[in-house]
Point group: D2
Chain length 296, copies 4
């Protein structure tokens, strides 16, 4: 019989992931701060708990998918939190993108209760969460990773073991700093080309046919030139991740001039009230800077 | 019978391109400043001219593939240059990456002689030149482009018509600014991950499996972490192109903060004596900045 | 009779400031982590306490002058800390440069004990501390500031009331971000001029005679071109302050592109092992970047 | 008897300078593209010429004060230009801020006619031009500088001999890059402080009382916080100078990351239509970026 799984955080990503666990046959105990988000899962058989503590009391593995470090700290370490209900020998799998040093801190607290933890942030966004094609970047003990790989497989197409606790979180930041810069590169180049008079659609077609392509240009190039910024990954989350990158690069003494400038530019977009749009909305900031009217 | 073609500039790129023209059956007249580079082509049947003027006197279409704007101006407009020998009704196809405004200036001079010009810089580097799989980005009159497409097909797998004279050159700059920034993003991220303790090979594997991939990461990620910077596209040429981008973004009043910072970082690499290595050598600059010893 | 004053933190700045309090006639209770630094003050009449708690138990006003936020938190809030010994109605004056949000947090903790707090970081470095010509930037209740102005006068030539708790700390960050950038501007310009062939001494003379002058160019221009980086304000402290600026500009959503780049450049200097030298050592980083040999 | 002096370029700066030459007793021949600007000088006794050629035909020393490199090239080297009318043994003193390499080129052309040239750009703006308190930064032969120092003294309070032709122009760029960055530093810091809640007037007062002061903060700090950007030195001219800096730093291979970012930020201000305002209008760009409404 499959272990009972707990799942905390039923946002855009979490609800897709939780459904895939139900589909895979896992008995699921869910919790979300606003309970209405849990209704869809209740209908397909999940038990809706009243607190993270109740989730952990009923489950052998607890997955968290939350917005930031304070949210994860609160849910796991706080009052009525996961560590209050959890049984010795259980495992916590945090799929949120948070500070690597907070990952390590939480893992240390969990260990005091005889509980293992994995940091397992994901590559992929809404669609991949729904289709079960996420990629997990895992930090923690290798044996713990291997013991729980089956659960990850229910939600994703692949997983990589990166190293000890916190290393999954570091790898996620490595990826998101590339994602942020590559998209900024695209935006600056498109705006330059537009001012030179090149047809934007043609530019995107050529970029995606050549070495100038990137995951970002392929996924978002066409929508960016249409001014369509429907959220796959919200600007405010990219800002949060870039701020984490800067904290960690300062902590590790790694000069990263390009990352810093891009962090500033995304902050500008945030100030302009674009927080909840897709982070490709940086295109609008660059257009405005260059004096190109908003929607062409 | 095929027209006689002239080809001027037999460097890494040009010699591959010229050979493909011979293979396609075109009678070829070549010129290179240092004559020994023409020997390979002489052996396979090309006529080696003593000046650009002699090339143009013998050819109905003249292709130039040179290092920078002054070289192209000199070969076409200078003493014993292409415009001195050329016949009315001929066409010049400049495949060099040069200033769009110089492209326009040369086209205007050519027009005074009844000669058409296309700016047709290429996407692709050494391998694509040899294999005949370049992509041409073409500026000039559309009819002229269509009339000469056959020649481009002999050297490449595809071509895009961008617009009037100079537009091919602009499109090339758009692409190279993306290439430069995407590779810088990769270098900063890899160095950050290395200092955090992640295995560099694993990082490249993950990046290339996810949305963080780019044409650059796929082509150069593995060699960068090995410290292998064998030249596909020399740093000094990327510096030249980034300087052209800077000139043009100032001329068109397009703020490009990320591009500017990356231009500074490539300049640092140049100062460190890396001019003739592949531009992915920016990795070494970032490693040194972060205090990671050169070759791990 | 004058109140007893406590003074915690007898580093380069603190020892000068404490001596001026003794000279002004205040009975002084001092504490420093390494006791030998307290000897000079013991000789001129100060009482050397064994803990921050002992200092606060004996004093009506307690001044702290420490290196960073964690040090201040530890000394005031920690075991055997100031708040353990302090009497209701006393005042804490923190002259350290720390996070404004930590200033506020400590003020709130102090208030629970019926104790007032001022954040009063200083403009000026070693010489001004010794000569008693510091300038204090004060946050806290205005009445508390006025009640304690006499103490500040014993150590400085002027003080400014900025606003509620934390505002003194913010003002200090405002100043240090200017100091950091102005000196970086000078370094970039001098290196450019040197490569153009201008005599560096002449450059500094001209800069200091014109609108291009700054507090930094006047204080450090001549020593920078001599390669003399004797510490007035250590690079590592400037890095700490720039990191605080970065945290606060992210928290308040203020885009600061220039500050960010300068933060990266100072980080480079830190990686190169220059932490304990004066922050004007950024000159060496710029020289190296430009390929100018270290000491000319 | 004093030599006849020619003066070409009667803009904001030039008209003040020319008047001071008349006051000093020099017979003056002036030329300006739009003749009405010459009226004021005609009234006080200057001869108004119809071309630069006519100016140089009548004068032993010709001063030019024009907006940019093309204007100077045109006036000196162009049709009806200075070199057409000039007598052997005369001297040209160019006080414009132009490309150092254009300075050298013009000096070389002048030399072919037996004419000496000095590049002598100025520190100071409108007020200093009127009051005759400019500072000249002089490139050219030292003897030529000394022979013509009297003329400079009629217009300024001081002059510095920097070195051979072009070196005066380089020194001017060195100064303006500092001016641009120092003012940007001030703007970023003021905006940060404003968002933190500090009174802007108080900030400027404190900055100007401490090491954070600069020539820029003293001259423009108070007007910047009032939103008063009356032109002393137009943004478009600062943009032009920063573009020259970037050309020259690329030509000399000097990495200047801060300068580059500041160049981008001034370009943003230019795109926003602020070209003719004082360059301190960068304050408005920073306020807008931070979401602070234009005029508080």
């Amino acid at each position: 019989m499959l272990r009972q799984i707990g799942f905390i955080g039923l946002g855009i990503m979490g609800s897709g992931m939780a459904k895939n666990l139900v589909k895979a046959g896992y008995p699921l105990n869910v919790y979300n701060r606003s309970l209405e988000k849990a209704e869809g899962l209740e209908k397909i058989g999940a038990f809706v708990a009243k607190s993270p503590k109740e989730v952990s009391a009923r489950s052998g593995a607890i997955i968290t998918m939350l917005s930031d470090s304070p949210a994860v700290e609160n849910v796991i370490l706080g009052d009525n939190g996961v560590l209050e209900g959890i049984r010795k020998g259980s495992v916590i799998v945090d799929c949120s993108t948070i500070s690597p040093r907070v990952s390590v801190k939480i893992a240390n607290e969990a260990e005091k209760k005889g509980v293992e933890m994995l940091d397992a942030p994901v590559a992929g966004s809404k669609r991949q969460a729904e289709e079960g094609t996420l990629i997990f970047l895992v930090g923690g003990k290798k044996q713990v990773y291997e013991d729980n790989m089956q659960i990850l497989k229910a939600m994703g197409k692949n997983s990589f073991y990166i190293g000890q606790n916190g290393m999954g979180s570091y790898m996620k930041l490595v990826m998101n700093m590339i994602n942020a810069i590559n998209l900024q590169a695209l935006a600056e180049a498109l705006v330059f080309g537009m001012k030179a008079g090149i047809d934007p659609d043609l530019m995107v077609e050529i970029i995606n046919s050549t070495g100038a392509r990137s995951g970002g240009s392929e996924a978002k190039g066409k929508s960016m030139i249409k001014g369509n910024y429907e959220t796959a990954f919200a600007l405010k989350l990219m800002c949060k991740d870039m701020n984490l990158v800067r904290e960690e690069t300062r902590n590790l003494d790694v000069p990263t001039p390009t990352t810093s400038i891009v962090n500033e530019l995304y902050t500008m977009a945030k100030v302009k009230g674009k927080s909840d749009l897709d982070y490709s909305v940086i295109m609008e900031v660059m257009k405005e800077m260059a004096g190109i009217s908003q929607k062409q």
